[in-house]
Amino acid sequence: MQKVRTHCPFCAFQCGILVTPGRGPDTPQIEGDPDFPVNRGKLCIKGAESARLLERSDRLLAPLMRDPDGVLCPASWESALDFVARSFEDMRRAHGANAVAVFGSGGLTNEKVYALGKFARLVLGTAHIDYNGRYCMSSAAAAQNRAFGVDRGFPFPVEDIPLADCVISWGSNWAETMPPLRQWFELQRERGGRSVVVDPRRTETAKCADLHLQPLPGSDLVLANGLLHLAIESGAVDLDYIARRTTGYDAAKHAVARYSPDYVERLSGVSERQQRQLLKWMAESPRALLMSGRGPEQHSKGVDTVHAFINLMLALGKVGKSGSGYTCLTGQGNGQGGREHGQKADQLPGYRLIENETHRSVVAAAWGVEPESLPHKGKSAYELLNSLGPSASDGPGIRGLLVMGSNVAVASPNAGNVIEGLKRLETLVVVDSFLNETAQLAHVVLPSLLWLEESGTMTNFEGRVILRREVQPPPPGPLSDLRILKELARRMGKPNALPSDDPDVVFSELAAITQGATADYSGLSHSRLATTQGVQWPCIGPQHPGTPVMFEEHFAHPDGRAKFFVVETRDAAELPDEEFPLYLTTGRVREHYNSGAQTRGIAALNSRQPEPCIEVHPACLERFDLAGEERLCLSTRRGSLLLRVKPTADIRVDTVFVPFHYGYAQSINLLTLAALDPVSRMPEFKLCAARLTKVLKS
């Protein structure tokens, strides 16, 4: 049978895969696509096992609604959609348009993102639409926008990583979370390049490095400012580059005068020798690349921390060459496209801004409405989920919520509070393929398609727009997300608000509307993407080749220059004290993806990581007299979990680590803190104060 070329359902790498469709009940076979330039045939275990999603016996095949006893029971599409439309309409009428909100996902295709944003603004008329990408790369995105004038995760193709003479992976554990990326770093090493990892844990990525810096969680900004201090002290800054291509250097220079190596040692625990070694390697590398993951970004000072990274790379004159500068490893499958096309509270399609009058006018005209009729900026993800119920702390609450492709009950910080909010909703509608933890709380669950059953485009971490193809027909029952939105729009009296339920048609409208915008897709179409290995935006016309490398000549600010920002360290929202003496940080394991809603249902994956383990240093166990315990109680001011212990000398003695892919009593986000970055509104997932105690035996 003919193999179909498409892409993995999971992370932002969007590996090319070849699918041999299954015959009858057989599961399709999946292998890596050797011709796709990003993964060149490699897959990780999640991608290799992804077809198992189609085998899951708990796949939702019919809408679910609450029966009089409150039990979720199968229902017809007609009754489910009618109920949702009527309920939202009633709420709008009784409490205003902002009584209904929408929560999207970085896993949705560009077409769905666009349609969801348009649905929220035109059909519901609500300001409140945001998505789980806020929890992902929003800090890096905000800082890049402010410093460079544009935010594209990688400003060059991934295959140029081997050009880097020195790569600093800062708070990213790609060897485990994105294994197909590893080949590019192996090539980079083979060419004689150096690899440095900065991470509080000695991860698999760190073990392969030439140098591993193991800072205190939350001290990344201090360390980066300290490196700039050393660069200035040692004369490693590129004054010519700074004069030609940047603004604001002097203020940044004076601000880092305080960040002397001893000050940095004290706050970060990274020795002066290591600071100097790293700086020396960066300075002597014609191309040096600082690549950040969520580690330094998911903090209440995440934006400022990324600014410190960018300041450093600008001062060294490294930004604007392929394989060099600053990049951010986006996490979710469409984390990049998801933040470009209008499901973010402050954005309109094409990375336009909802508070910019010109941008509003352009989009309003394209949509055939008056600019004034477009809602303004709404609440950010956590703030939205913290406003559920009849009233919120700052005014009327959100009574109805439509969640598409996101498991907010597991993925949100201080998740216990979010779950309480979800229970206060008059109508919670969840669109998903599986009955995840959020769907369990819903009034209506609408079953959607899996990725092999529909087509659509994704934009990977390099800004590469790729086409996912429909490989096989869906089982009877589920409908596509686009169809669901179209049906709801029709029932709410706006039958023409959404262009179509055909992804090809939706993409055409999306592409046209982004013309002239920052993320310009206007030269792209499904048919063009079908014959390419993806095209990197901006792509401003059918003949335009796309933009593999950015910033070679100029940055995206009107003056063409990049901006330095003065950034100072500040304390995390919650620091260890006598009662809660440890740093708790969270992250991923290689077998699972995000909230685990998909991967926990695949036996080949879940059997390897069936539950979260707490990684803790043996000296820490000794300190609290806990050695030899199989399970321990981990507590923060938000609550407690019982977790299996994984003693490891690979973590700092003052820090414990727990992965976040699990639900209910295994959900570490019940313990995390919802302190937000003032600019990006990113929650502080990576740091709060915790305590370890013995499990009380009854």
Binding site: A48, A175, R182, H212, D262, S268, S271, R590, E622, D654
Partner: protein, 483 residues
């Protein structure tokens, strides 16, 4: 527009800051950044002409960096920030009744709030021959201001001799600067060796040997009897009789708070001007103090960290925010900023007593020294000379009050941050380490299939197969050659 401006300026209170050193620099950054100009009209008095610079970086200037590089607020900055700077003006007195600051050149400025940040001055020892009338003999300088720096640079004689009085942090920084400029440098100190405030005698002796390699000779237990030379410095005579000829004499004998102004204004002054933990002068609610000129609960301050914390507290007071817990000092951490010699210390030098546990490691050959002080199971002090890469980690134990491991020597294993001892994982899917793969190859596995059968490596997603191939290539050849 101008109407509005005038009204707002009338409504603003007048804040006067006396002193324009690093403490004021930080304070101004915070005030401007937090919108204090809406509330205050700010006037700064600075004795020096250049604006505000970072004194900590003076040794950079000695090493050839232009002075402008360390000035973080030049006259233009003050102009743009709409802050009045009286540069080169010394404040003569404070009239608390009239709430006026009176300076030289007849400048008088009224205040609603006053911040005294007069800093400190270098101690000039009383040595016969040091003064020529009222001024220092030509060739003798302190190391405190940009002006001092310029004078020192002007007096440097390549191939000549320099003497530095005082073997503390500043003295050693100056000594290194002069050595780099081609001078033969001797450091004279009353203590047995250099950095006596941070190091015990053994540590001092290791440091002395290390400094000797840089061309800096330390003469300990020495006091200066007289300065030689009539029109300019020609040398010094030590009490023991030895004469050290020199072309340049730099004095780094410590600092003393500048307290004449608060004292003459009738404010409480002990070792320095007394303020409480909110930087307030208790007798006069309009006046605050910050930096090296103040003492809080009997403690004085001379390093960046506590003074920046003071600035945070003071801004909160000036902006009338909710009262925080106030300033609280922490143990200071000292590193010698001299390239080529590493010294780190915290917790100071204290006499041994029965409750204190000490851990000392010395390597004569490597000229390195480490001494830790443990009190009630907690790390309370450390001295490191030669290799200080452990100190960053030790600080975490101290600052977080993490108990020292039962086996005290675990503290010394610099496991944090080093790489190479651990075998990386090659196959992610099956968690196979590189060492396992290499062992399998050495046991006869010669291709991917055999490796897969023996170790499972490469049988999951297959991502690691190129690594496995490389390992096969390297190690198969090696085992064959060995055979």
């Amino acid at each position: 527009m101008s109407q509005t401006l005038r009204r707002s300026s009338q409504a603003r209170k007048r804040l006067v800051i006396v002193g324009n050193g690093p403490a004021t620099g930080r304070l101004l950054d915070l005030l401007v950044g937090q919108g204090a100009l809406e509330r205050y009209e700010i006037t700064v008095f600075g004795e020096e002409p250049q604006g505000c610079y970072n004194r900590v970086l003076l040794s950079r200037v000695l090493s050839g960096v232009p002075a402008a590089e360390i000035i973080n607020k030049n006259l233009a900055w003050f102009h743009c920030a709409n802050i009045v700077l009286h540069a080169g003006v010394r404040v003569l007195r404070i009239d608390r009744q009239e709430r006026m600051v009176v300076g030289t050149r007849g400048i008088t400025v009224p205040y609603d709030n006053l911040v005294l940040a007069t800093g400190s001055r270098a101690v000039i020892p009383t040595i016969p021959g040091l003064h020529d009338d009222d001024t220092l003999l030509t060739g003798a300088y302190v190391f405190r201001t940009l002006e001092d720096c310029e004078a020192i640079l002007h007096s440097v004689v390549r191939g000549g001799k320099a003497v530095v009085l005082g073997g503390g942090l500043l003295g050693l920084e100056a000594a290194k600067g002069l050595a780099d400029l081609g001078m033969t440098v001797r450091v004279v100190d009353r203590s047995p060796g250099p950095m006596a405030r941070q190091l015990d005698v053994l540590g001092q002796s290791v440091l002395r040997r290390r400094l000797a390699h840089l061309g800096i000779k330390c003469i300990g237990n020495a006091t200066t009897e007289s300065v030689l030379g009539t029109s300019r410095v020609e040398g010094i005579r030590l009490t023991a009789g030895e004469v050290l000829p020199c072309d340049l004499l730099v004095m780094a004998c410590g600092i003393q708070p500048r307290i004449e102004l608060p004292r003459s204004a009738g404010l409480l002054v002990k070792k320095a001007m007394v303020v409480n933990e909110w930087l307030e002068v208790e007798a006069d609610p309009r006046i605050y103090g910050i930096g090296e000129c103040v003492e809080i609960h009997g403690e004085l301050f001379g390093t960046v960290e506590p003074i920046w914390k003071q600035a945070d507290v003071l801004v909160d007071r000036l902006l009338e925010r909710k009262r925080t817990s106030g300033f609280c000092s922490s143990v200071s951490y000292t590193k010698l900023k001299v390239a080529g010699v590493e010294v780190a210390s915290f917790g100071g030098v204290k006499e041994l007593d029965d409750s204190v546990e000490e851990l000392t490691v010395t390597s004569e050959l490597h000229e390195s020294y480490l001494r830790l002080r443990i009190t009630d199971g907690l790390l309370t002090g450390a001295q490191l000379v030669g290799d200080t890469s452990l100190s960053a980690r030790l600080l975490q134990y101290r600052d977080q009050r993490i108990p020292v491991p039962e086996n005290r020597f675990d503290l010394l294993a610099s496991g944090v941050g080093t790489v190479g001892s651990v075998s990386p994982e090659v196959c992610n899917c099956h968690h196979v380490l590189e060492s396992t793969v290499v062992a399998a190859i050495e046991n006869g596995a010669s291709d991917l299939e055999a490796l897969g059968n023996l170790t499972c490596a490469g049988t999951g997603c297959g991502s690691c197969q190129s690594t496995l191939t490389r390992l096969l290539r390297t190690h198969v050849t090696q085992s064959e050659t060995a055979a």
